[in-house]
Structures are given as C-alpha cells and as structure tokens.
C-alpha cells in the first residue's frame, strides 16, 4: 500500500472502528479522530517535503485495475484505481489533513450521538482526501459523491435550528451539478482510448492528450460530429463541468447554499466546508476543465473572469451588510474564492500559481475564522454582531488572534492573504499583454475588493471588539465570556503562525506549484487556442 492509499483509507478504517466499538468507548472517539488526522498531517507533510525536493510532474502514483465489466454492444467498463499528486494537489492534500485536524479538535462542541458523528467525520476525511488524489475520473466521481452523504447528515443532524433546510439545500445544489458531471464523464469515457490497452478509459491524463481521442466521438477534437443541440459538444462539456464545480466554489449567483450551510453547520463542519470543500470546486476546474477542455477555458475565460470579479465584489458587499458573524465570514469566503476564479481565468503563471496559493491561504484562514466564530458561539450561543461591544477588554488574547485572522484575510502584507490576492490580480492584469483573455480593467475593478474587504473586517472589529464593554446578555455574558482556553490557543497559535510564515516566505508554496502550474497554464492556453481555432473553422463561432 502506497503513501497516498494510506492517507486516503486511514480515516475510513477508523470510521469502521468507531462504528463497531462498544458504547463505553464513546469518550475516546474524539481523541481517536484527532489521532487519525494527526497521523494524516504527518504523512502529508512528509509527502509535501519529498515532493518539494524535485517538484515536477505526478509522483507517488499507484495504479491498479479496479472494475472491469463487459457491457455487451456498448463495449466494456474499465475503471482503474489510479492516484497520484502533482504540484497542484500535493499542497491541497496537506491543507486537507491540517484542516481535518483542526476540525477534529473543534469537535468537542458535539455532545449528542458521538458515534455517528465521528464515524461520518472520518468517512468525510477519506472522501475529501480521495478527491484530491484521484486521477481516474470515475474514482474521482466516487469520492466526490461520497463527500455528499456525510456532509448532508453532519449538517442535518448536528446543525443549528434551521439545519434541515440548510442541509437539503446543500444536497440539492450539489447534486444538481454532479448529475450533469456524470453525463460528461460518460461522454469522455467513450471518446478516449488508452493508447496502451486500446480500451476506453477514465484516466484523466489520457483525457488531456488529444492523441487519445477517437475521431468521431462526442468530445472529439476538431470533429464535425462533436455536436450537441447544434452547439460544439466540447464547449457544452466544459460549461457543464464548470457549473458543477462553480457551485462548490461557490461563485455568484450559484452561492446561496453556502451562507445557510455555514450558519447552520456546527463549527467543525463550517471549518471543513470553508477550508476544504470550496477548494474542491477550484481544484476541479483547474484539473478537469482546464486539463480536458482547454478550448472551453479559452473560449469562456472572459466570462469566467467576469464571474470572478462579480463574486469578489458581491461577496464583499454582502459581507458588509451581514450582522451574523458567521454569515459575514461566509460571504468573505465567496469574495476570497472570487480571486481564485479570477486567477484561473487569466491563464497566466502568476494567476494560476496565485490561485493555488490563495486556495491554501484561504483554507488556513477560513479555518481560523470559523474557529474564532465558534469560540464566541460556544460561550454565549450568539453570533449577532450588534450584541457584542468592547470584547477586546473582556477577552484580550482572543482579540489578538481575531486581529491576526482579520488582517490576514483582508490582505495585510506579511501574511498569506496578501500574496494570494496580489498574484491572482497580477495575473489578471498581465493577461492582456500575455494572452489577451482578460482586459486590464477586470484586475483594477477586482482590486477594489481588497478595499471593501478591509471595510467589513475593520467595521466588525470596531463594532464587536472596541469601545466600552457592553453585552446583550448582561451580567451572565460577562461571566460566560472567558478568554481563550489552552485547547483553543493550541489551535489558533499554529494557524496564526502559518499565515505569517506563508506570507513572509511564499516560496514554500510557489516552489512546489510553479512547474506544475506553468505546465497547466501553458497547455491550457496553447492547446486551448489550437482546438478553439478548429472549432471556429467548423462551427464558424
């Protein structure tokens, strides 16, 4: 068993263990889950380090036949177990294990049915790890769908008062995207053959190479038959995949599941949602949309740039108007993920490297932000911003970390948010002189997002933390609002240090991502332009 399989299936194994252990072991379930995720952190950190020694291509690959079915006249179904990581995914794998670790520690607010909770929690751990490692589209899809089930229950059973609405909404939104993804996957399967075996294949890497496409299939490149409803099938394929992942990111206007899910979800699930789940959307776009349908990316880049820009500003304005702390953070996530979308749309080295950096940075910061919201909620079961005033005097140590998290999020240099925002914006700005995909004013308008970002974070700081002490709950809250416990400090301190270290020395990430992202950007732009020209000739676009 390779490193990656160990990383993926370790939580699944312990999910089963938790499920079968007798009830008297219940107090140990959390410790067990923390242990599992700590082991994952160690393994993935080791992987990251090993990868950084020669950061090129896919490494740590494991390849095995999984399912082989004869389907009569339709041919055969040939699914492989194929996992590996490159500069894009290795950082996200590390991020995933760190966020799971934090979430496991934050899980002590769960009081009911711990067996169910921690079993599902670990199941989720397997699913998200698998998504980032899978290079077989079918395997990817299995992990992708597998995330849905535990999340649905984790929000629906352990969430806030309105949890059922939120979980159903989340479920339907995601399902809506993934049903269509299934169709695209099937279409791709029958368009691509493995040059080694001659069979159709789900191997993503084969899907990225034009030599493997048969001439007359639905997603063939430069074929007149590749038509769907009178439109080029490859562009539709791109759009469908993009929408599926865009729901996950989420981009405006496909975002309304996110604030509800965050507000209702328990703290650890919010941390996972913002820290990992949103990244899966962006990861899917870079890996699958850019990799398999580069022509679609080049064709739609302008509009994807618009979506990114709108998300940045729309998220920021809504965050400004939010009076629930968690809702404010949820909208800030939408705004920050907009930078990722903008960076991807630019198809420049700066933009794509910046996008991956921003994903990792936002993963760390959103985990920190939701943990911070949880600290307050656990004490007084309230998150309404106007109900608090002068918290700095009441909880000075807590305030220090809030200031760090807020300023890192609003892009203060020296911390990670700044680098992510600057390089995605720089990519967007440079695009006009490199590949003419995005006009320069996109970057300039998007940059105002960092002004509004500062506005909502500073306004929240001023309203909740500064000024004279005054709490809605009066004397009871005065007693309840104690400063950080050792456990909370143990979570926040490493997160705070991480954002500073990444901000001061961003090469920790860039040196790992650079070669992979350059290859992806280069491939997407060059092949994309060539394929698109073929489409233009055929369809007269």
């Amino acid at each position: 068993m390779g490193y990656l399989s160990l990383l993926i299936f370790l939580p699944l194994f312990f999910a089963l263990v938790i499920w079968v252990l007798p009830k008297r072991f219940e107090p140990m379930f959390q410790a067990l889950s923390i242990g599992v995720s700590a082991a994952q952190v160690i393994i993935s950190a080791a992987l990251y380090y090993m990868y950084s020694l020669s950061p090129e291509g896919f490494r740590f690959a494991e390849h095995a036949d999984w399912i082989y079915l004869q389907l009569g006249t339709l041919g055969s179904l040939d699914i492989d177990y194929f996992v590996a990581v490159d500069g894009l995914s290795v950082g996200l794998v590390l991020l995933t294990s760190i966020v799971m670790f934090i979430a496991a520690i934050a899980s002590n607010e769960i009081k009911e049915n711990k067996r169910g909770y921690f079993a599902l929690f670990n199941l989720l751990g397997t699913a998200v790890m698998g998504v980032f490692c899978a290079l077989d589209f079918f395997l990817f899809y299995v992990f992708y769908e597998l995330m849905l089930l535990p999340l649905y229950f984790l929000i629906g059973m352990w969430g806030g008062p309105n949890r059922e609405y939120a979980s159903v909404k989340f479920f339907i939104y995601t399902l809506f995207g993934s049903v269509f993804m299934l169709l695209v996957m099937a279409g791709l399967y029958f368009s691509v053959t493995d040059p080694g075996t001659g069979h159709h294949t789900f191997n993503m890497l084969h899907m990225m190479d034009e030599a493997n496409y048969s001439r007359d299939a639905i997603f063939s490149i430069g074929s007149e038959q590749a038509v769907l409803f009178g439109l080029p099938a490859r562009l539709i394929g791109f759009a469908v995949l993009f929408i599926a992942f865009a729901i996950k990111i989420p981009v405006v206007p496909l975002h309304t599941w996110l604030p509800d899910a965050h507000v209702e979800a328990p703290t650890p699930i919010s941390i996972i949602l913002a820290g990992i789940l949103l990244k899966i959307g962006a990861y899917g776009i870079i890996r699958l949309c850019l990799g398999i349908f580069p022509d679609g990316q080049v064709y739609f880049s302008y509009w994807i740039g618009v979506i990114g820009m709108v998300s940045i500003l729309y998220g920021a304005f809504n965050a400004l108007a939010s009076s629930d702390l968690k809702r404010m953070i949820a909208f800030s996530s939408i705004s920050h993920m907009g930078f990722v979308v903008l960076g991807i749309a630019s198809l420049t080295s700066e933009g794509l490297n910046g996008a991956v950096y921003q994903m990792i940075s936002h993963g760390v910061l959103s985990a920190m932000l939701f943990f911070i919201a949880g600290v307050l909620y656990n004490r007084v079961h309230d998150r309404y911003i106007p109900n608090f005033r002068g918290l700095a005097l009441q909880m000075p140590r807590y305030t220090t970390f809030v200031v760090i998290a807020f300023f890192a999020s609003l892009g203060l240099p020296g911390m990670s948010g700044f680098i992510g925002e600057v390089f995605t914006l720089m990519g967007a700005f440079k695009s006009e002189s490199v590949n003419q995909l995005l006009p320069r004013w996109f970057a300039i308008v998007s940059a105002t997002g960092i002004l509004f970002g500062a506005a909502y974070f500073l306004w929240t700081l001023q309203r909740m933390f500064f000024g004279a002490r005054r709490f809605f709950g009066g004397e009871a809250w005065h007693r309840a609002l104690t400063d950080l416990s050792a456990r909370e400090l143990f979570v926040l301190l490493p997160l705070g240090l991480t954002t500073i270290i990444l901000g001061v020395y961003p090469s920790i990430i860039f040196d790992v991502t650079n070669l992979s992202m350059n290859t992806i950007a280069d491939h997407a732009y060059r092949s994309g332009s060539v394929y698109l020209n073929m489409l233009k000739v055929i369809f007269g676009l």
Binding site: L320, P413, M426, F429, Q462, F466
Partner: protein, 624 residues
C-alpha cells in the same frame, strides 16, 4: 558611477549592518509581546535596547555610504513562471539619512513615552506596537524593490492603525483608526495598480532598474516588453498617477488627507513619531525614490496637489481650537511643500525639508504632549471637567512650563521659517525652485504653485503665532501651578531643539549652498535673493496679523460666528462630502445587495425548492 574603493568596509558588510538595524526593533517587539507580563513596566528598556544600537549603527552606516556609491544585496524571494522576484536592502545617501532620522526620533520618542505612558494599562503593548512600527519603517526605507516597499508601506499603516486605536475603549479612537486604515487602503489600491503596470511591463520590481527603464522610455530610447493598442508613454503616465495616489494617501495630501486630523486620537508621542516625523513622510519618500518614473505631466500634477494641499491645510489650521489638530493640519501643509518640491523637480529640496520638518514638528508635538499631559493631570486632580487639548483652556504657560516654552519657541520659529532656523533654509529652496519651475512652464496657471507656496508662508506664521499666543501668553482663567518637567522630557526636547537650529544643516545661516548636506544629495541651488526677503516679509505680516487679533483683540474675518470661519473649522466640509458621496452610498448598496441576495436569488432557489416539495406532496395526496 563613483568608485567603490571609497568604502572602508566591503559592500555586503554595509547591507548586513542595515539588516541588523532592521531586525533589532522586530526582535524587541516580538520579545515584549511574548513576555508582556515579564517585562511589564520595564518594557521600554527592551525597546530602547533595540533602538539605541540601531541609531548608532545607522550613524555608522551613514558615514560609510556618504559621498560614495550605494550598497545593495538581495536574495531570490519568489519564482513565478520564468520571472524571479528578488528582495534585498539598498543603502545610499538618501536611505542612510532617513535611517538616522527615523532611529534618532524613534529613540527620543520612546524615551518621552516612558513619561507620557507611565501607569497606562497597556504599557507593554504600547512599546511592542511602537517597536513593530520602527521595524516596518526601517523596512520601508531600506527596501530595494517596489514590492517590499509596498509591503512595509502597508505594515506601517497597520501599526498606525494599532496605535491610533491604542485606547481601545474609546469609540472615537477606534473610528479614527478604521478611517485611517481605509483611507490609506484607497491609496494602497492606487499603489498596487501602479505596481501591476510596472511589473507587467518590466518584469521586475527593482527600484533602480525601474527608474532606468522608465527614463529610457521617457526619452524615447526604449519601449515596454509588450505593448497593446496604446503607447508606452500612456502606461507610464498611468503608473505614475497610480503611485501618486498611494503617496497622497500616506502623506495625507488632498483629496486623501482627512484621516490625519482624526488620527490625533492616538497617544501624543505616537502622533509625533508616526503622524508627523516618519510614517506620513513615506509618501514623499516614495515620490523621491520613484521620481525617475514620473513623466512631466505627472510631475505637474504632483506640484499642484502639493501646493494646493499646503495652502488648504494652512487655512484650516488657522482656526482650530484643539492644540493637536492645529499641528496635524500644519503637518499636512508642510508635507504639501515636500510634495510640491518633488513636483517642481527638486527631490533634494523635498528631502531636506522632510528632514528639517521631522525634527521641529516632532518637537512641537512632544512639547504639546507635555502640556496636554500636565493639564490633564491637573484638571483631574482639581476635579475640573475641562478638555486638556483645547487651547481655550490654556494660557500663560510660559512661566509654568519654562523649558517646554523655550524649546517650543525654537520649533515654532523653525516651522514659520525664521532665519537662523532650519525651516528657513529648506523652505526657501523649495520656494525658489517653484518660481523657476513655473517660469519654465511658460503658462500663467503654473504660477499658482509658487503663489500657494508663498501664501502658505503667511498662513503658517499666522497659525503658529496664534497657537503660541493662546498657549503661552494669553491670560488664563485657571491659575496653573508651576509644573515640573522631568528629565525624561528634557532630554528629547533639548536635543530636538538643537536639531532645529541652522548649524545642523548648513554652517551658513541663510543658505544651504556648499553645505555638506546639499553636496551629498546633489542639491542644485539657484540663487534668488528676493525669495528669502519676500518670505520673511510675508512671515512678519502673518505673525503680526495673529498678534493683532489674539493679543490686541482686533476683529477679523475669522472671528467666531463668521461663515468663513465655520467653513475652515469644518475642514472645508470635505469629511461631510465624503460621507455623502462614498460612505452612505456604499452602505446603501450593500443593503440592496443583501436584499437582492435573500429576495431575488435565494427567492428563486426557494421557489423551485418549495414548488418541488409541493408537487411531490400534492402528487402523494392524489394517490400517486
């Protein structure tokens, strides 16, 4: 290029020393923050143990690089695509002088703070913030590339945010800190876009490389790496304007100046260090550093922005009642002179005024700090509810705080530009330069710049005389006792007063010509004997006018109740204008967006959802 043999130390040693200077205050800040309980009331010792060696090292560095070439070392910071971004330290005469000025003033302010902040709950926190600021400011001065200059630029803004809002329980303080940060963010946005333009065209952030490439383009010898649709010059103009926006915000110039008067909510030593002597001059420093990038059109804009700000701020300073507000507007006005000097093409004059102003304005703030501090304690002790910053509650302090009075007199004379004081030397170079510049422009409109410059001389003399009279001479309603200035106050005041006298800058009391400073900075002095004469006459007129009103009690257009006075007192209503033009619309738009989000987008989603549920349930009830 001068010979490098002039160095007695190899270049990398110089930059290594620079790095040490940079890291010392960071170390101090981290130590104080980490062991706040341990150091407690002794936190200032840690801060001073960093800043005094930093001062000595900076002086040593200055002696090494003066009159010789610059020293630069860098490391690779980020590689992206095929571009490597380097960062490092650049030490030349300008940055070394800045380093000495900043560390000198920082040290004095820290000494003064021991007196001013004594007994404050957040004593350790205060010194941790202050040291962090010094680190960021050193970084800004030493950065050899525009990206790191930007990084430190925002960091000094962050420290300023922390220190303005230092008294966290005060609402006004937290609002002022927010305003300062956001207004600076507007400028940062401009700076950032300027960075994007320069990076996408030159693929480097190195200061000297940017300057050389830009000059080549301005002279038509070169072109950008890539040019789309419009000419190179167009984008170079754009980059220049963007950087200018950044500088306007940081140096509190019109139209981005309104944060500085509010920033006076911070402790007075902070106002003196950050909001008078160091951080606010960062904008001018940027303009000086980037002057090769600016095209003539941008330079003209800079000149007008500076000249107008100098004039406008001086008119507002003339009617303020708060002792610190007068000084804040005075700072804006003096920064206007520096910006104007860059605009008219004399970066050396701008830099010298930056230095002279740093000393006398720091002194003015510290002296007013003594007054505020002593009066506050006195009022509290006597149970009087009086504002210790309002000049109407002062008066007759000449005999009560003698040393403060004498040093204040020197600083006020330097600010007004009296001969034998430093302000006279630097201001006259700027004024003469602006006259030459407007003559060279050949347009009548260009004479507005020197006009504003000379008008400001008159106004400056007016407002500082007014303050001087109100604070020290006017008969007070309260019979103050004689206060005692402790030695911690005396040292900084006396040292700064010495730095406000002419010999520090030039041995010749009336001219910078042939002075060490002018030669080191390549200041090109053009003689115009009428300028000093004219400015002294204007100065006397202004001072006399103030004397007539505030001592002799003559009626003036500025007497209470007049519309002009109200207009000036309110700062030309610019805050109110921004409130109506920007803040309220943004809040309104965010409210609409929230409505749109919940009603329209989510309304659509929920409609589909509920109608689906309804269809299912109705299907169930009809027996499906």
């Amino acid at each position: 290029m001068q010979a490098q043999a002039l160095h007695t130390f190899p270049l990398n040693t110089i930059t290594l020393l620079g790095l040490t200077v940079l890291l010392l205050p960071l170390l101090a800040s981290a130590l104080i923050a980490a062991c706040a309980k341990l150091f407690g009331k002794k936190s200032h010792v840690v801060a001073l143990l960093a800043s005094i060696p930093a001062l000595l090292l900076s002086m040593f560095i200055l002696t090494q690089v003066w009159n010789s070439s610059s020293a630069q070392s860098d490391i690779r910071w980020i590689s992206i695509g095929t571009v490597s971004i380097h960062t490092g330290i650049l030490i030349d005469a300008t940055s070394a002088l800045m380093l000495v000025m900043v560390s000198f003033i920082a040290t004095l302010v820290q000494v003064f703070s021991v007196y001013y902040m004594k007994g404050d709950e957040g004593y350790a926190r205060y010194f941790a913030y202050l040291s962090l600021f010094v680190f960021a400011m050193f970084g800004l001065v030493l950065a050899d590339n525009l990206l790191w200059l930007y990084i430190c630029w925002e960091l000094v803004g962050f420290c300023s945010y922390l220190l303005i809002g230092f008294w966290r329980e005060r609402d006004a303080a937290s609002q002022a800190s927010k305003k300062a940060f956001l207004m600076n963010r507007v400028g940062d946005l401009g700076f950032l876009v300027g960075l994007f333009i320069l990076y996408s065209q030159f693929s480097t952030f190195d200061l000297s490389a940017l300057g050389i490439s830009s000059q080549a383009i301005l002279h038509g010898d070169a072109s950008f790496l890539s040019h789309i649709a419009v000419s190179d010059i167009y984008w170079l103009h754009a980059a220049g304007f963007c950087l200018l926006i950044g500088a306007l915000a940081k140096s509190a110039q019109f139209p981005l100046h309104t944060w500085l008067p509010d920033a006076m909510e911070g402790p007075t030593p902070v106002s003196s260090l950050i909001h008078a002597a160091t951080m606010v001059v960062a904008g001018v420093y940027l303009l000086i550093r980037m002057s090769p990038v600016f095209s003539p059109e941008v330079l003209t804009t800079i000149a007008f922005a500076g000249a107008f700000t100098a004039f406008m701020a001086a008119t507002i300073a003339a009617v303020q009642q708060d002792i610190k507000k007068v000084l804040a507007y005075s700072t804006i006005s003096q920064l206007g002179y520096m910006v104007m000097a860059v605009g008219v093409g004399s970066t050396a004059a701008a830099f010298i005024h930056l230095l002279t102003h740093a000393f006398f304005k720091c002194l003015l703030f510290l002296a007013s700090g003594v007054i505020i501090h002593e009066l506050k304690h006195y009022f509290e002790h006597e149970g009087m509810h009086k504002d210790s910053q309002d000049m109407r509650n002062m008066g007759g302090l000449r005999k009560k705080l003698p040393l403060t009075f004498y040093t204040y007199s020197i600083a006020a004379a330097a600010l007004a530009g009296l001969p034998f004081f430093t302000g006279f030397l630097s201001k006259d170079v700027i004024l003469a330069q602006s006259l030459y510049w407007s003559a060279a422009q050949g347009e009548v409109l260009a004479y507005l710049v020197p006009f504003f410059g000379f008008a400001t001389v008159l106004l400056t003399a007016f407002y500082i005389t007014r303050q001087y009279v109100l604070v020290f001479f006017k008969k007070s309603d309260v019979d103050f006792p004689v206060f005692k200035e402790p030695v911690l106050v005396k040292i900084p005041l006396v040292l700064l007063a010495a730095c406000s006298l002419f010999p520090l800058f030039s041995l010749h009391p009336f001219s910078l010509e042939n002075s060490v400073l002018a030669e080191g900075l390549n200041l090109d002095i053009k003689h115009l004997p009428l300028v000093p004469l004219g400015s002294v006459i204007l100065l006397m007129t202004g001072a006399g006018w103030a004397y007539a009103i505030y001592v002799k009690g003559l009626i003036s257009p500025l007497s209470s109740g007049s519309i002009l006075r109200k207009f000036l007192y309110k700062g030309w209503y610019i805050d109110e204008l921004y409130q109506a033009l920007f803040i309220r619309p943004v809040v309104a738009v965010s409210g609409w967006m929230k409505e749109f989000d919940t009603k329209v987008i989510d309304g659509f989603v929920n409609f589909r959802y509920w109608s689906g549920v309804w269809q299912l349930s109705s299907a169930g009830s009809t027996g499906w």
